[in-house]
Symmetry: C2
Subunit: 196 residues, 2 copies
């Protein structure tokens, strides 16, 4: 008997369209961009659709939102579906290209509520973004029990050497508060098996 | 105006079902498992559907194929769609769980034609596999122009510390030959922008 394999499908939460501002909205500053993704992380917790993480790809110059992402690991049955990768995959699908750094595409910035884990860090150079904006530190995620994986000690330098600017601690207090809120609600911590 | 975001969809190549042996087939040894994925990588080149990389998730004990994967980066408009992550995402979707190491799931082995890049390496501990089998070395991929990213110097040890056994150089000559074949055909090398 032969097997027919289905498409791999990741479905964004139903509430996402309703909570996003109109598509024309301009997010002029890093703080405004971070404000949006922190709200998405909060919504993801409150509506019970995933972990306390959100991210988004923005047009670096115009400040327009190109693609949002939230953590879909548990509900999406996909350990790869961290918020950063969801946002990058959606942005690339909408662009019709695996490369957000192509000459026909506006320069892109990825904004994430918490610094990337080892997987997401490794994914960034392949995606074509030229700027990364982070809220909470990776140690804040570790502090509530998430495993961030084995990252190079000076990972911001490794990105900068690859042409990706790194901006840390943007709205850090608010970003950290989302992680605390998740822990206080007793949300699941879904790490690798050997660390459970 | 509000925007409605589509699902993220990764479509496996149309030829895949036709070239796979019947689903009952048992791949008893690591070499047999590697033989299958090397064939998938060859097909991916010959049919022009992606990069020279394939992978698959196997039931470690029974030797049955659970999910195949091939590199879909360019055609799939997705820099995340390395063969390893395609196979893991498909296996998890079929299992209905983000965790292939859960107690209700058979222990899983990921077999890949070339050692994982930094992104795929970072993804492995989150996926729940307990064994990794590699064909060509990462330096073989680098030798034909692919960037493997910033990996820990002793990355097999980092996986083993997390409970993932690592088997390298399985059918290494045949696995390397696929990379050479891709280079000889002038296939695209789609690295991060800063390295092009």
């Amino acid at each position: 008997m032969s097997q027919s394999y289905p498409n791999i499908v990741l479905r964004l939460p139903d509430w996402l369209d309703a909570v996003l501002p109109p598509v024309e909205r301009v997010y002029a500053s890093r703080e405004e961009r971070m404000g949006l993704v922190i709200n998405l992380a909060r919504q993801n917790i409150q509506r019970g659709t995933g972990g306390p993480f959100a991210a988004a790809v923005f047009d670096l110059d115009s400040g327009k939102l190109l693609a949002p992402g939230v953590n879909l690991v548990v509900d999406g049955h996909c350990s790869v579906a961290h918020a950063e990768l969801v946002a990058l995959m959606l942005a690339q699908q909408l662009a019709g290209s695996h490369d957000l750094g192509g000459s026909s595409h506006p320069p892109c910035e990825l904004v994430t509520t918490t610094e990337p884990c080892a997987m997401c860090l490794g994914a960034l150079p392949w995606a074509g973004i030229i700027s990364l904006v982070c809220g909470a530190r990776d140690e804040d995620a570790r502090a509530i029990g998430f495993d961030e994986g084995d990252k190079p000690a000076d990972w911001p330098a490794t990105l900068q050497q690859r042409g990706i600017a790194v901006h840390r601690d943007v709205c850090a207090l608010q970003a950290r508060a989302v992680l605390q809120q998740y822990r206080d609600r007793g949300g699941p911590i879904y790490n690798g098996r050997s660390t459970n």
